[in-house]
Symmetry: C3
Subunit: 201 residues, 3 copies
Amino acid sequence: MFYLIIDILGTIAFAISGVMVAMDKKLDLFGVFIIAFVTSVGGGTLRDLLIGNTPVAWLKDPTFLITILSAVVIAIVFRNKLKYLRKSLFLFDTIGIGLYTMVGIQKGLLIGLSPIMCIGLGTITASFGGVIRDILCNEIPVIFRKEIYATACILGGVGYFLLRKLPITDAYPYVGGIIIVIGIRLLAVWFKIALPSIYKN
Amino acid sequence: MFYLIIDILGTIAFAISGVMVAMDKKLDLFGVFIIAFVTSVGGGTLRDLLIGNTPVAWLKDPTFLITILSAVVIAIVFRNKLKYLRKSLFLFDTIGIGLYTMVGIQKGLLIGLSPIMCIGLGTITASFGGVIRDILCNEIPVIFRKEIYATACILGGVGYFLLRKLPITDAYPYVGGIIIVIGIRLLAVWFKIALPSIYKN
Amino acid sequence: MFYLIIDILGTIAFAISGVMVAMDKKLDLFGVFIIAFVTSVGGGTLRDLLIGNTPVAWLKDPTFLITILSAVVIAIVFRNKLKYLRKSLFLFDTIGIGLYTMVGIQKGLLIGLSPIMCIGLGTITASFGGVIRDILCNEIPVIFRKEIYATACILGGVGYFLLRKLPITDAYPYVGGIIIVIGIRLLAVWFKIALPSIYKN
């Protein structure tokens, strides 16, 4: 129940971030919906394709589609007020990537992948929806250029596997991993920390 | 036999639309062929990947490859005359998306998906070849910006499921759905109807 | 052992080519790594998705990840010296696409695909990592515009199937195919041969 609420909040935050990018490009109604949809489910879909978990989840469970459709309609209606929600949306988004990272890691563990690959799957789950969104909007993905985003996912994943070595029940590492992702992202934004750009001198 | 002819005509129309976009970008021979190929089979390929129907269809049946290769060669040879075929190509393309929508819906029904997801698969089948074409050509997909295209697929799919509720044999809803897709697209182009763009005031 | 060394050299060359493209776009550390990674494994990943060979290879074998990570770190540290390696990197890259073409063909033969589709899979394996790299960097893929690249793969594949008709052990066609790919690419670069661009007069 608790996880479900986080999942729904994350899905909504991702969908609205898609709506906002799509509006900047002046896409039509269908385009806005597709961008919102891929931002929300794109990462999990890529993960499921890579591990062969098909049909992909959103085809079997209409919850995602209905949630995203509702979020898109509401976001479009209140599109001139979204700026007042900026902080809430950032928070939902951050909680969402924390949860998605852990969901991706669990999927990897279920099929017996090594921790490093599980962390990779978690990072893909949390961050590649945004990558596909940016590609469809003809932009170089923002997470390749600035912001601590994927880095937070990777470190949260590392934290999860370290915590799992302690003699505690499995829920603690799970929640601990989410908290690490959220904490690093908040600190990075707070202190304006970003990965260095790489270019020739 | 009837469906096969429509399928071949649709494949050809999609391939030639790919050739025309690729020529605008002055791609080389290989680039033109790849763009034509993904325009034709990209939607069905994405659908098959999402539902886990692999190896994807065109790997198992060389008909698509041969049809597309022939269409590309002919389109390149007569590239300065293609404008005279604009209306025929538009018609083939429109018939093609009608058929592809129904093909996608059938694939969804076969694996027991809900009607709404079947309609989604049909729309992906009919319209995402063009999306991949535009991404490879470094453009924001045209169907996200203007034209009633995906909307026609969605409404045709809704029509199909409504017609299926009537006590008639299954061929009628199938053909009915195709006719709805074609009709809406023709009306939209005729009356210059497009979805509204969404942007901040 | 011999193939493994070629494979590692090819992976490294592909990864460094990714680093160089990513540096031109001034991506951050994560972006550079992802571009290097998809350049190396993107073609094989797309091939595995199309034939349903999942989980994809790099999830199961950390060799690729470790090789690419090491290559990225070294390439970044020595980023101002990479130009002195231009010729070696071109050679590794060329040997790499020769090998990757044959690897893709073998995967197709294993699941009983026709020679023409096996050649398609080989070409995808060798050249679509670069396509995904360019898409993520918001460029029209370079292999659609200039350079004999995919063409060398296709002709190497044709050579392989022709050589297989001779009464010789299977290693000869395999190595023969690689040599054909390498030879055509070197000749094309040497004599500055490219496919013709296609556009309206």
